[in-house]
Amino acid sequence: MDLITPEIGLFFWQTIVFLILLFLMAKFAWKPILSSVRNREQSINDALASAENARKEMQNLKSDNEQLMKEARAERDAILREARELKEKTIASASEEAKAKADKIVADAMKSIEIEKQSAMAELKNQVAELSVEIAEKIVRKELSSEKEQHQMIEKMLGDAKLN
C-alpha cells in the first residue's frame, strides 16, 4: 500500500460514509441545532431591544413626572402668592372703606349737631325776645302810667340812643 497512491477501496468508503454522515448530520443535528440557536439569538436580541425600550420609556416617564412635579410646584406657588395678595388687598380695601364710613358718620353727626344747635339757639332767641317784649310791655305799662314817667322814659331812651 503506497503512501501517495489513493486506494480505490478507501476512497469509495470515505465518499459513501461522508455522504451518509452529511445527510444524517444535516437532518438530525445541524438543522435543529442551527435553527434553535438562531431562535435563541433572535429572542435574546428581542429581549435586549425590549429592555432598552423599557429603559427609555422609564426615562421618559421619569422626566414626565419631574416635569409634572415642577409644574405642580409652580402652580401651587402661584396660587399661594395670589391668595396672599388677595388677602392683603381685601384687608386694605376693607379698612379704607370702614375709615371712610366712620368719617362720614362723624361728619353727618357733626352737621346735625350744628343744625340742632342753631335751631335751638334760634328758638332760644325767639323766646328770649318774646319774654323781653313781654317784660318790656309790662314794665312800660307800669312805668308809663304817669305823664312824668313817660317823659323820663323818653329822655332816658334818647340818652341811650346817644350812647349807642
Binding site: L3, G9, L10, V17, M25, F28, I33, R40
Partner: protein, 381 residues
C-alpha cells in the same frame, strides 16, 4: 518608584531563563551519561538470545510505513501469531462477484505466505495488498523485484482499519451532535457542559468561517457541509493521535475524497458570474482572456488538490516525526535515548493536538472561501 522596580524584574527573569537552560542542559547530560548503562543492560539481555526477533535489524522505514499505512486488521500490540488484532471484513470485487471473509483468515500474514481459499479463488495478503492467485496457482511467486508474477489485484472494498476508524468518527459525531440536537429540541436556553463546548464550536464554524467567507445571504445553505467537514476532520485527527489508532486523515484516498466534495460544492454552486470570471474575465484585453481562462480553469482543480495535499501531508508528517523520534530508540539500540526522544515526541504530540484543530480549521476555512468566491454576487459596473 518605576526606576527601582524595573531592573529587579529584569534581573529576576534573567536568572529564571538561566536556571531553565541549566535544568535542560543537566537533563541532557544525565540522559546521555546513563544511556550506556541501559545499552549494556540491553546487550546483556540480547546475549541471552531469548528473543530471536530482537536480533533482526530494526527497519525504521518499514515500521513507520506500517503505522501510517492502512491495513486489513486493526493491530493493537504483539508480534506474529501472538499479536492482538481486531479482525475486519475483507470485501473483494472479482470477475466472479463479491467475495468476503474476515482478515483474521490470513493469520497476521502480510508476506503472501498464507493462502486463503474462498469461492474457488485463492487470495494472499502481500504488504496489505490483497492479491488473487491465478487459476491453478498454489502459492505466490515473485520476480526479481519482489513483484508477484502469478497473481492480480481485485477491487479491494474491504472495511480496513481506516474505514473502521472512519465509522468510529461517524458514530462519535452522531452521538455527540444528536445529544446536542436533543437538548435544543427540548429547551430554549443554552446547554451546559460538553454540549455547550460543542455548541461553541458549531458557532465558531458559523461565525468565524461560514459568515465572513460566504456572507449573510447564502451561508446557511453550506453550513451542513462545512460543519460536517470540520468536525469529521477534527475528530478523526484527534482519534488518529491515540496510540494504536488509524491514520485516516493522513491517507491520501481520504483527503482526495474530501477535496472532491469541496470541488463538487464549488462546481455545482458556482453562479454565472463565477464562470464568467473564470473563463472570460471581464475588464481585461481580449488577447489575455484565453490565457487567463487556462490559468483560472486549472485553478478550479488546483484549489481542492492543495486542500487534499495540505491535510494529508500535515497529518502524515506529524505521525512520521513522532514515529521517527520513538524509532530513534530502536535504531540506536539504546534505551537512554528515550530520555530525550520521549519528551520530544510528547512535545510533538501536543503540537499535533494544535495541528489537528488547525488543519480542520484550514480545510473548512478554505472550502468556505472557495465556495464564497463561487457564489459571490459581483456588482456590475
Amino acid at each position: 518608584m518605576h526606576g527601582n522596580l524595573e531592573p529587579t524584574i529584569l534581573s529576576r527573569t534573567g536568572t529564571m531563563t538561566a536556571r531553565k537552560s541549566l535544568v535542560i542542559s543537566l537533563y541532557f547530560a544525565i540522559a546521555f551519561t546513563i544511556s550506556p548503562l541501559f545499552s549494556f543492560a540491553q546487550e546483556h539481555e540480547q546475549e541471552k538470545g531469548s528473543l530471536q526477533e530482537a536480533e533482526e535489524e530494526f527497519n525504521a522505514t518499514e515500521m513507520i510505513m506500517h503505522h501510517i499505512g492502512d491495513s486489513h486488521g486493526w493491530h493493537f500490540f504483539g508480534e506474529g501469531d501472538s499479536s492482538v488484532t481486531l479482525p475486519l471484513p475483507v470485501i473483494l470485487y472479482t470477475e466472479n462477484g463479491l467475495v468476503s471473509f474476515m482478515s483474521s483468515e490470513f493469520h497476521h500474514d502480510t508476506e503472501g505466505h498464507h493462502v486463503v481459499e474462498k469461492d474457488g479463488m485463492r487470495f494472499v495478503n502481500l504488504h496489505e495488498d490483497i492479491y488473487r492467485l491465478d487459476a491453478g496457482a498454489e502459492a505466490v511467486e515473485f520476480d526479481a523485484e519482489h513483484h508477484p508474477v502469478n497473481a492480480s489485484k481485485p477491487w479491494d472494498l474491504s472495511i480496513t482499519k481506516n474505514v473502521a476508524a472512519m465509522f468510529l468518527t461517524v458514530i462519535l459525531m452522531l452521538i455527540f451532535f444528536t445529544s446536542l440536537a436533543r437538548h435544543h429540541k427540548k429547551h430554549k436556553h443554552a446547554p451546559k457542559g460538553f454540549n455547550n463546548a460543542l455548541e461553541t464550536l458549531v458557532l465558531f464554524v458559523r461565525d468565524d468561517i461560514a459568515l465572513p467567507q460566504i456572507g449573510e445571504k447564502k451561508y446557511m445553505k453550506f453550513m451542513p457541509f462545512l460543519l460536517t467537514v470540520f468536525f469529521f476532520i477534527w475528530i478523526t485527527n484527534l482519534m488518529g493521535l491515540l496510540p494504536g489508532a488509524a491514520n485516516v486523515t493522513g491517507n491520501i484516498a481520504v483527503t482526495v475524497s474530501l477535496g472532491l466534495f469541496t470541488l463538487a460544492m464549488i462546481v455545482f454552486n458556482g453562479n454565472k458570474d463565477y464562470w464568467k470570471h473564470t473563463f472570460w474575465m471581464p475588464g481585461i484585453p481580449t488577447f489575455v482572456k484565453p490565457i487567463l481562462a487556462i490559468v483560472e480553469g486549472l485553478g478550479i482543480f488546483i484549489k481542492p488538490i492543495a486542500l487534499m495535499i495540505r491535510l494529508f501531508a500535515n497529518i502524515t508528517a506529524g505521525h512520521i516525526i513522532i514515529l521517527s523520534l520513538i524509532g530513534l530508540i530502536f535504531i540506536l539500540e539504546n534505551a537512554g535515548i528515550a530520555g530525550v526522544s520521549v519528551p520530544f515526541a510528547l512535545f510533538i504530540t501536543v503540537l499535533e493536538l494544535l495541528v489537528a484543530f488547525l488543519q480542520a480549521f484550514i480545510f473548512t476555512m478554505l472550502s468556505a472561501l472557495f465556495i464564497g468566491m463561487a457564489v459571490e454576487e459581483h456588482e456590475h459596473h
